[in-house]
Amino acid sequence: MPKKIQYENELDAPLFRPIYETGKGFYITVGILMLIILWALIMYITQIWFGLGVTGMNQTITWGFYIINFVFFIGISHAGTLISAILRLSRAEWRRPITRMAEVITAIVLAIGGLHPILDLGRPDRVLNIFTSGRLQSPLLWDVTSITAYFTASTVYLYLPMIPDIAKLRDKGGKLTWFYSFLSWGWQGTEHQKKVLNRAISILMIMVIPIAISVHTVISYIFSMTLQPGWHSTIFGPYFVVGAIFSGIAVLLILMIVSRKVFHLEDYLKKIHFQYLSTLLLIMALLWFYFTFSEFLTGIFGSEPHEMEIIHYKFTGPYALFFWGMLLLNFIIPVIILSIKRFKTITGILIASIAVVIGMWLERLNIVVPSLANPRMELPIGIYIPSLVEWSLFLGGIAVFILGFVLFSKFFPLISIWEIEEGREEGIKEVEERVHSYLPGKETGSK
């Protein structure tokens, strides 16, 4: 029996607790998730064995769940690093308990989303052909490039601000000391180390913003670079980025609410954090609606026959339920909940966020399928009904995400301890000085 690690007398004890105390719930969750992942793995093996014929796709609707989920998962990844970088950059003090979680989401979801195109390949055994005979002119290669860049940048951006916390865990001792001391790179918290770390974080946070925006822009290019009606649109780049940030914030809010409950972080994730972040969600909901409205209005007003066919299909066709559901979940529900103060409670925010996540998934569905279901050539078209394999892999993807998050919370603090300390020690003073410098009057002692 290893000796019990003392953390109870730490000021931030609640942040250490999930690492040193493992309840039954943890094993049950991990067990269930592993079962789902195993099931998804079996399903993927059947797909490799029998071919993509086991999915619901066909000759005209030749992209389905895998591409929808690819866009969806990569979209979620935009919450994290991008939000955290923007909050850091604008020196928003309320960011401190949020950034770590946001960055974790990015790193995990990006890995899952990035693998989705491989699930979609007819010949996954030949995936390395993109290196041996890749064509940089193809939007798919742009994707490979920007997703790899974003994954690299965002994992580094997750890792660097973790170093001081890892050093804290190392100093506590225990079974995994070798692991933490390897990862902490000899961090002692000297002035020089702090300076270097802060500079590295500053460089990364500026670098990561354009990379993040490029990722979803390039994903939209996969669609908008083709001539297909409903896809060939110039606003697709920003439209996708807005949608990505929108769904990302929603996932971030859900995870924050759940971890607050599970890990008893009520003292760290306060109502104010949820209110600020959900205001951002409300803004994104309005922005998303603005883009959607512009996209459809230009289509309807121009009335190009093929474009109209697809709009008509979306409004009244077999997928109409999903289209109107998307509008309800993405716009009406979140706007009502988040703009009325009485509803803007944590439960209300949770409901709005769940609505947005489902709604944004439906949005991806509404982009991918209707355009493929209405080819310009007058072909007999079937309907796309995803198969068990596709559903299983979707569930598997979600399970991998949750498992990644749960395991992360087991090994590292979900809230940046040193940044909270920094907030306590320096933040208050710094903000006071900053506010003074905004006001008229002589410069105070700040440099």
Partner: protein
Amino acid sequence: MPKWAMVIDLDKCTGCGDCIAACKLENNIAIVSPEEANDGRVMFWMDMITIYEGEYPNIRVKRFPKPCFHCDNPPCTKVCPVNATYKNEEGLIGQIYHRCIGCRYCMVACPYTAKVFNWLEPEWPDEFKNCFNPDVSLRMMGVVEKCSFCAHRLLKVKEDADSDEREILDNEYLPACSESCPANAIDFGDLENKESRVYNLSRSSRAYREMEDLGTEPKVIYLQKRE
């Protein structure tokens, strides 16, 4: 350099579907099971499009054969991540089955839906397996394929012409659909050769191409009397 093109005279076409059958046999195209076909996974290189115009009882049925249009400005080759579909110098759009990773981006990008994917391991009834065309390679599961304008026939024709030290004659290189058409509705030849039948037909007042406004410059030209 020749520029191979097809002219389909819809005023002659009876919609019999002989071109489809000839194409399937010539190119060893998989025979998809009826269940799979109902799921929309039927495999044709030469397809027959049926359009119903008007409302009952005044319905007009329009049928026309649709191969790959071998666009001069092809949207499919532009998006391929691995160069598995390409345009050669004679304007033929080829597929490299052994390089294709099966992402199906080219299928999505093709406005004419000319490409088909091998959703399962391709299958044939036993009788077919004894009479495969040895000139056309069999495809494997998970790759995209499409009409090649019977490019394997061009190789033979070229060899013959080379050994005789002459140019390829008009009507010497014909794809299987053109050769088999009982109504002589499908002509094939070199658009650059001003004496060829195809060149002259393509300048007919009846000539049009599918979705010319997209700028894909298809090399399949339809002929139909205007009303």
